[in-house]
């Protein structure tokens, strides 16, 4: 395995591990979701770059690019749907103003 692709693989795996540690250590749902939705996505991007350098066939590189695009499109949508759905049911700690409730009441 080449050095450059190995470094990309290790960096992506470290980001995934950091996301897991954050999902354990953070105190409430929204900050856990912040750790668990963003860090593994960037980790997948780095790991996919490393795999595209290492494997280096046309089919594998195309598939990896497709995977990265799909993950970048679907991960924020899923996290947003989940946080919006669970906003009313799970206690979260907010700063001084609750923008979602304010905007819904102003309609």
């Amino acid at each position: 395995m080449g050095t450059v692709s190995g470094l990309f693989l290790i960096a992506g795996s470290a980001l995934a591990m950091i996301g897991g540690i954050g999902s354990v250590r953070f105190p409430d749902l929204l900050s856990r979701m912040h750790a668990a939705a963003k860090a593994p996505t960037l980790g997948l991007v780095l790991v996919a770059i490393g795999a595209a350098i290492e494997i280096d066939t046309m089919l594998a590189v195309t598939t990896v690019i497709l995977v990265v695009v799909l993950q970048l499109l679907s991960s924020p949508v899923g996290a947003h749907a989940l946080s919006r759905a669970s906003r009313r049911q799970v206690p979260v700690s907010l700063d001084d103003v609750d923008e979602l409730t304010r905007d819904e009441q102003s309609d």
Partner: protein, 83 residues
Amino acid sequence: MSSVAFVMLFIGAGCFMYRLLRGPSLPDRVVGLDGLLSIIVITIVVAASRQSSGITIETVLVAVLVGFVGTVALARFIERRGD
């Protein structure tokens, strides 16, 4: 070098598994499930590039799509379940 990556992925999978099993509410468990599927996807890509073969890399596509559909379906379920 990929052994280091596998060890870190194992630690991350353990953390997400803890959140999946111990999460105090249902959305916490969904967060754990989503993160665990991300770890699985990254592990498949690392294993494919360890062998330098792209045979197993199509399964990653299916895993990403199943993860997205599962997360959105569980979010809809949580939204509808509320009173």
